[in-house]
């Protein structure tokens, strides 16, 4: 039951993009086409889960016992950067088709604040455990995927719309994101 609540909270109520504002750069940047947004979501799911797993273990068994808690930010970002690099090399070797699909997005993920954000937030969960932290990461990446893909589908339709000159480009996209966020606000109080 607890896990269902985490899932619903992460996907709908506290959606990582639309209500916590993490990962806005890829949200605005790679949402032109539905196909690329699906690829980006896959890459984020992969890296976010792996990164949370590794950083959680590192924090619990290395940083905390050694009293180096204040080095959290610097170690986490290094681990994530190294991890992304490693995943890229391994995917190239093991599964070329998957690399073809996700390859372009992997370097972008190092500076995706959603990954670092979720790794840090996972440490602050109630009676956090390894399983819970990893589940939290998966739930959040589903939330990210939902927001990104819905937004991309709306943007594809917007191509055909007649938008006033001053609102073209960035402003209209932000406005759409605002309305989407407003819709997700309706889920408040669900859990």
């Amino acid at each position: 039951m607890e896990y269902i609540i985490i899932l619903i909270a992460a996907v709908f109520v506290n959606n990582i993009v639309l209500s916590q504002f993490l990962g806005i750069c890829p949200f605005l940047g790679v949402s032109k086409k539905v196909s690329t947004s699906v690829g980006m979501s896959g890459a984020v799911l992969f890296v976010m889960t792996l990164a949370t797993l590794v950083t959680y273990l590192l924090h619990q068994y290395v940083l905390l016992p050694a009293g180096l808690d204040y080095l959290r930010t610097i170690t986490f970002i290094l681990v994530i950067a190294a991890l992304v690099q490693m995943v890229e090399i391994m995917l190239k070797k093991i599964s070329p088709p998957l690399y073809q699909a996700l390859g372009v997005f992997l370097p972008l993920i190092t500076t995706n604040c959603a990954v670092l954000g979720v790794a840090i937030l996972a440490l602050g969960l109630e009676n956090t455990s390894l399983l819970k932290a990893v589940f939290f990461a998966i739930a959040n990446s589903i939330g990210f995927a939902l927001a990104l893909i819905v937004f991309a589908s709306i943007r594809e339709k917007l191509e055909l719309a007649d938008i006033p000159k001053g609102m073209q480009g960035v402003p209209i996209n932000l406005l759409v994101a605002g309305l989407l966020s407003l819709a997700f606000l309706g889920f408040t109080g669900l859990v």
């Binding site: 930010t73 970002i77 950067a81 609102m167 932000l174």
Partner: protein
């Protein structure tokens, strides 16, 4: 050296022509996430300005020592060190702001504005022009965040820098304090910014 900008132009470009928020869309996460009041926006802007300034200085000093293959991890370590300093200083001296900004303080590390300036400017230019660049960009970022925070605070709470402008029981547009308001306010601000900067040109 393609074209040597004068230091004054170098400074001003960060505020208007290449404004990080309205024009280049860098660092959007903190821009939207912490601007529920003008004070938070100002605090975040200054914290980012400090990290940007220090990392630009360090990167431009060591630019010839850092091998180009590992430059990105090297930049990230430099930035992360200064972010850790900011985190500790805020926690010790301004706990109120530390609570308000929360997760977004460690996330200054992944603010693409800072890494972007280190990569695009500080690693190619002298210390002096990197300082000027960091000040221009940082102040441009701070102005944008404070402006967005002010608009949201006035509309959503009827106050500015915690100074109440309407009576206590007046109805305000709560929407603007909530997440959707961030997107909507920034959408109209950037539309206005485009309009005004097109006029100036």
């Amino acid at each position: 050296m393609a074209e040597q900008l004068s230091q004054k132009q170098n400074f001003l470009k960060g505020i208007i022509k290449d404004n990080p928020v309205f024009v280049m869309l860098l660092g959007m996460c903190p821009t939207l996430g912490v601007t529920s009041s003008a004070f938070n926006g100002l605090g975040m802007g200054i914290a980012t300005l400090f990290v940007l300034l220090m990392s630009n200085i360090v990167v431009s000093i060591f630019k010839s020592q850092i091998p180009s293959k590992v430059r990105i991890p090297a930049f990230i370590v430099i930035i992360a060190s200064f972010v850790t300093i900011v985190e500790m200083v805020l926690e010790a001296f301004i706990p109120f702001l530390y609570e308000q900004l929360g997760i977004f303080i460690p996330l200054i590390v992944v603010n693409c504005l800072i890494l972007g300036r280190a990569e695009a400017f500080a690693s190619k230019n002298t210390v002096i022009s990197s300082v000027v660049d960091a000040l221009g960009m940082g102040i441009g970022f701070t102005i944008a965040l404070t402006l967005l925070g002010a608009v949201r605070e006035i509309l959503g709470n009827g106050s500015l820098f915690d100074f109440k402008m309407v009576s206590e029981d007046a109805n305000t547009l709560i929407l603007f304090i909530l997440p959707p308001g961030a997107f909507i306010a920034l959408a109209y601000l950037s539309a206005m910014f485009n309009k005004v900067s097109a006029k100036i040109k």
